[in-house]
């Protein structure tokens, strides 16, 4: 599973992307967040306030209960501020 980070989430995690292999028990975005948050102090800081972090699965915005599967591209980022 490919995980991408953007904006201050990327800065806190310390990398822009990584390949991860979460256990089978990680089935949705919320589960992935909990699992990623335990990987490093940077990850923990990035996900300290989960409501500040948005997700996309395979380049579509995704809610916390959206399923994630091996092979997915999952991205985490702050609320968008373009335009």
């Amino acid at each position: 599973m490919r995980v991408l980070y953007f904006a201050w989430v990327r800065q806190k995690v310390g990398v822009a992307e990584e390949e991860v292999s979460p256990p089978e028990s990680v089935r949705d975005v919320a589960g992935l967040v909990a699992w990623l948050a335990a990987r490093s102090p940077g990850h923990a800081a990035a996900f300290a306030q989960p409501r500040q972090v948005r997700a996309a699965v395979n380049q579509d915005f995704a809610a916390p209960d959206a399923p994630v599967r091996p092979g997915d591209e999952v991205a985490f980022f702050p609320p968008v501020t373009g335009g």
Binding site: F6, A7, A56, V80, T81, G82, G83
Partner: protein
């Protein structure tokens, strides 16, 4: 009325309002109104530059969906969205939205809709760089969510629902 596919570009380079505008009307005699919006970088609070980060791939996809939604809601003969990324200094244009339609209301409303939805649904993030060297990520504004949500109300109202 033939509908052109939306033109969508995500680029570091500036855009050419006149050329993009001319492209939507060129060779046509069914366009009655062309509306445009250009968002520019302001120098608020001693801002030295905005740095726009985006999510390559998803960005184009998200903008394409927003443009499709506009074309579904209004009878547009054409629609162009160009969004820049990278480092932009005060005065620099950031985003261009152009809409064409037989009638002015469709062009004007679709233009406002597109910029409202781009603000809340396109994966861009702005970092502000100040003269003193400090930096700050721009936070999403509640007023932008509110501006975007009025289009939900508008769609609901057209369907006969209570917003």
């Amino acid at each position: 009325m033939s509908r052109a596919a939306p033109t969508i570009r995500v680029q570091a380079e500036p855009f050419d309002l006149a050329a993009e505008s001319a492209a939507l009307a060129a060779g046509r005699v069914d366009v009655g109104g062309l509306a445009s919006f250009v968002g520019l970088c302001r120098a608020d609070d001693g801002l030295a530059a905005l740095v726009l980060e985006h999510y390559p791939g998803m960005t184009e996809r998200a903008i394409a969906r927003i443009a499709e939604e506009a074309c579904a809601r209004w009878p547009l003969t054409g629609c162009t969205v160009i969004h820049r990324h990278g480092r932009l200094e005060p005065g620099a244009p950031i985003v261009l939205v152009l809409t064409a339609s037989a009638h002015r209301a469709a062009a004007l409303e679709a233009c406002a809709f597109l910029i409202d939805w781009l603000k809340t649904r396109a994966p861009f993030w702005k970092r502000e760089e100040f003269a003193g060297g400090t930096e700050r990520w721009v936070e999403a504004k509640a007023e932008d969510d509110l501006a975007a949500s009025r289009w939900d109300d508008a769609a609901a109202a057209r369907r006969g629902e209570t917003p």
